[in-house]
Amino acid sequence: MKAIHTLLLILLILLIPTPGWPATTEDWVLIANPKAGIGRLTQDEVTNIFLGRYRRLASGVTAEPLDQPADSALRARFYRQLVDKSLAEINAYWARLVFSGKTRPPGVASSSEDAMQRVSLHPETLAYIEKSRVDARVVVVFEIVE
């Protein structure tokens, strides 16, 4: 088991493009519904929300995270930049919680547009999209500063 994990990890490391390369995926930003009243979030808060530690912010606002599709490059980039994990690791993490626990993984948007749509429709929703796609329907609450 462990050997396979290690092998996978090596494969993933080899597959991941280095930051110096011409970006195939854009920088992402975390967006929220402006009406939800969510201010700027910290990286820890984003991590805790997206990895199921809690879904309610300190201000009492509920926050429902929303992932990009499972095979999207943005999703991989998001988790890499947020917690420095591969998608496989993130999936393994969730697998344990889903299998024996009660905590649920974030919902999945079919695309960034879908994510924008859902954020604009449901104020408690938090999602990450390409930075370039941000428009007036949403507000950016967190972004990775390089």
């Binding site: 820890d44 991590t47 919680l97 024996s100």
Partner: protein, 802 residues
């Protein structure tokens, strides 16, 4: 024999060795099982914790996920999963301060949880943020389960150990029994039954020929063999020793010699019965050791000296010791001492009294003159052997010689002579002091020592009395005999430092008395004087010179012509001997002939004279002188020193007829061994030699001699001729001799004719021959021919005158 002992099984080697093996093994097993139990327990606990820790490792990430997500369900799942391990008692998973999940098994009532055993607790980290502690998982061990497991483990280990130990004990015991104990026990049993004196030997157990047991057995066999040998030798030695000791004890007890063993101080260790009897050792009931000095020795210090000498030098010493006794019962004991080497000495004692008495008697006899009871020469010499001229008192040595004793002895026989000597000794004894030493050193020679007298006056007084006494007539068998005595005196120490010198000095004095007593009526004694010694010295030197002269032929012959008084012509010559001494001049034959006789040179001289005379007369006869030579022969040359054969031999060598030699003898020849002299004369006359009787008229001149000894001629001594005158008795005597000789058919030679008157008288008396200075002095051989010619010429004149 060895006592047979049964070895109880509990003290046998089998039981002991096996018990020892079992005991040691069990002891070690017990100790090690305690050690093993402790170790297993400790390790069991450690391993349990290790296992729990590893258990935690497997759930750690899941637990951290559950804690991160605050997912009680997952946490509970994890806790329950852990609890399925029997060693886990309780699991608590906390997220921060809140307990997320808790699972535990119902506690046992008799829980014996070690208080010091901590729970296993692990902090849980966030899976997404490094170093962020988000909770903890705490796991408490189920010590009952662990302990029971540990106990089971240790019990099993100990049981295994015990089983192994039992196997080892059994195996070791069996092997020890088989390999070591059984052969040893078998050997021990056999050894116990073994009787080495019956040549028994042990067998080597099977298969042990090369092992230590085999070697032990063969060593024991060797040892017993040697032991038996040694025992046998010892037994034999002891037997012989006993026999020897018994033998020596018998010898010791029954020996006729006394035997004793003593230390160097004379303490007796043992002694036999003979010793007691010989030394008259008195029995004393005492424990003290008896002393060698206890018997009544005359001088026991000498005995101790002997003992010490033997001990010091480690040599055998022996000597005779006088043992005093009651009533003069003295005993001489010979004691021989031999060191035994261990500091003690062994001695033997033998009674030598008889031998000792004989020795003393013999010694006394040796030094005593049995006839007179005086000391003999040996006694005298012995008595004065240790004279010391410095410390010894002066004394007078008196030597007495009896004059005329020999004649008495010869005439009357030895018994009478002995009576005379006994009378002499009685007179000497009467005339001397008891302190004087009296001895007879020869037939009639006495030596007296007057002790304490060193002065001539005192000595002379006593000796005059003695001399007078000795010269008194002796009454022998009613017959009175007179005898003189000559006495020589020497003083100690001035006349001699020892007895032999003193005797010589006294003898010199005595001889001078004897020589002078003939001519004058001097005292019959004389003191020694150095001149006497000088005279003797002179005599001795003269002897040496004579010997030298004879050997070098220095003696010369002279010839005195003898003429025929009827014709006046030369008839012959008398050979005379001359000794021209280099220092003293011409020495008379009257001096040196007696000397030659005394020192034994006379025969050599006689041979030389005869030889030379014959050579000379042979020469002259060849020159035409019809003559003879007459040679004087002394008493001592007859009969053997100048034998008739030797004379005839010389004649033959010079081819001389018998009438060329005439032998002149004196009357002394006729007074010794008459028979021998007679034969000697007859032998020569038978060969044709003529014999002249010399010096006729001076001695006995017995006519019976002339009858008994056939002579040819007598020579009238010159003393008659020189005093011859027409009117004195000598004239008559000469005439009588000539007449008598004529009647006996003997010719006559007159000696010493010194003038014409004598010659004429002799011729008128009818004397046939003559010699003397008137006719011719004796002349040397070289002058003889001229002398002969002168005589013959005179004869011619006389013949022509008459």
């Amino acid at each position: 024999m060895a006592i047979r002992r049964i070895v109880p099984w509990s003290s046998g080697i089998v039981f002991r060795s096996l018990a020892a093996v079992a005991l040691i093994t069990l002891l070690l097993g017990g100790i090690s099982s305690i050690f093993i139990r402790d170790q297993i327990t400790a390790r069991g606990h450690e391993e349990a914790l290790q296992r729990l820790s590893e258990l935690l490792d497997t759930v750690e990430s899941t637990a951290s996920v559950a804690t991160f997500a605050n997912d009680e369900q997952l946490a509970s799942e994890v806790a329950q999963g852990l609890l399925r391990n029997s060693e886990v008692q309780r699991v608590i998973i906390s997220a921060g301060n809140t307990e997320l999940a808790r699972a535990e098994r119902s506690p046992q009532p008799d829980t014996t949880q070690p208080s010091n055993a901590p729970p296993v607790q692990r902090s849980l980290l966030s899976p997404f943020k490094k170093g962020d502690v988000i909770g903890s998982i705490r796991l408490e061990a189920n010590w009952d389960a662990i302990s029971s497991r540990v106990v089971a483990n240790s019990r099993q280990a100990i049981l295994t150990l015990l089983g192994q130990l039992l196997l080892v004990i059994g195996g070791t015991a069996g092997m020890v029994f088989l390999v070591v104990v059984r052969p040893i026990k078998a050997t021990s049993d056999r050894l116990h039954r073994l009787d080495p004196t019956n040549a028994g030997a042990l067998e080597i157990p099977e298969g042990h020929a090369g092992t230590e047991i085999g070697r032990l057995v063969s060593d024991i066999n060797g040892l017993t063999g040697r032991l038996v040998n040694t025992l046998n030798q010892e037994r034999e030695l002891r037997r012989q020793q006993e026999i020897g000791q018994r033998k020596y004890q018998d010898l010791f007890d029954h020996a006729s010699s006394g035997i004793f063993v003593t230390d160097t101080e004379g303490c007796l260790a043992s002694f036999n019965r003979a010793f007691v009897e010989l030394t008259r050792l008195v029995h004393v009931a005492t424990e003290q050791p008896r002393k060698l000095t206890e018997p009544g020795w005359d001088d026991h210090t000498q005995l101790l000296d002997l003992l010490r000498r033997s001990a010091d030098q480690q040599i055998s010493c022996e000597d005779d010791f006088l043992l005093c006794g009651r009533q003069g019962d003295e005993r001489w004991l010979h004691v021989a001492i031999m060191p035994l080497g261990d500091g003690s000495m062994q001695g033997t004692v033998t009674d030598v009294t008889a031998r000792k008495r004989e020795e003393i008697l013999a010694r006394r006899l040796v030094i005593t003159d049995s006839l007179t009871g005086f000391a003999n020469r040996e006694g005298l010499i012995q008595h004065y052997a240790m004279l010391n001229s410095v410390s010894d008192l002066p004394f007078t040595t008196v030597m007495i010689d009896l004059d005329g004793f020999k004649q008495i002895n010869d005439a009357k026989g030895f018994p009478v002579g002995d009576m005379v000597l006994m009378e002499v000794s009685r007179r000497i004894r009467r005339a001397t002091h008891p302190s004087d030493f009296l001895s007879r050193i020869g037939g009639d020679e006495f030596v007296l020592i007057f002790n304490g007298i060193s002065e001539r006056g005192a000595a002379a007084t006593r000796i005059e009395a003695l001399h007078a006494n000795l010269c008194e007539p002796y009454e022998l068998n009613h017959e009175s005999v007179s005898m003189g005595a000559s006495i020589g005196i020497a003083f100690f120490p001035q006349d001699g430092a020892n007895m032999s010198q003193l005797l010589r000095s006294a003898e010199l004095a005595l001889n001078s008395v004897r020589e002078s007593s003939r001519s004058a009526s001097l005292p019959g004694y004389r003191f020694f004087a150095p001149q006497l010694q000088a005279a003797v010295e002179h005599q001795r030197r003269l002897e040496d010179d004579l010997r030298h002269a004879v050997h070098n032929g220095e003696l010369r012959l002279a010839f005195q012509p003898i003429i025929d008084l009827h014709t006046g012509g030369l008839a012959g010559a008398e050979v005379l001997l001359r000794w021209p001494h280099a220092v003293r001049g011409l020495i008379s034959p009257e001096v040196f002939i007696p000397l030659a006789e005394r020192v034994g040179l006379i025969s050599e001289i006689g041979r030389q004279v005869l030889e030379e005379a014959c050579r000379q007369v042979a020469e002259w006869r060849r020159d035409g002188l019809n003559m003879y030579v007459s040679v004087n022969v002394s008493v001592s040359q007859i009969p053997d020193e100048l034998s008739p054969d030797a004379i005839l031999d010389v004649l033959q060598r010079f081819s001389l007829p018998a009438e060329a030699i005439v032998i002149e003898i004196t009357e002394g020849v006729l007074m010794g061994d008459i028979g021998a002299a007679q034969r000697w004369i007859e032998q020569l006359r038978a060969a044709g030699l003529r014999i002249y009787l010399d010096d006729f008229g001076t001695g006995y001149s017995s006519l019976s001699y002339l009858k008994r000894f056939p002579m040819d001629t007598v020579k009238i001594d010159k003393s008659f001729v020189i005093d011859m005158n027409a009117d004195n008795s000598d004239h008559t005597l000469v005439n009588t001799i000539i007449t008598m000789a004529g009647s006996l058919g003997l010719k006559v030679v007159a000696e010493g004719i010194e003038d014409a008157n004598q010659l004429a008288l002799l011729r008128k008396m009818g004397c046939g021959y003559g010699q003397g200075f008137f006719i011719s002095h004796p002349v040397a051989a070289a002058d003889f021919v001229a002398t002969a010619a002168r005589i013959n010429a005179t004869q011619a004149n006389t013949a022509s005158n008459s």
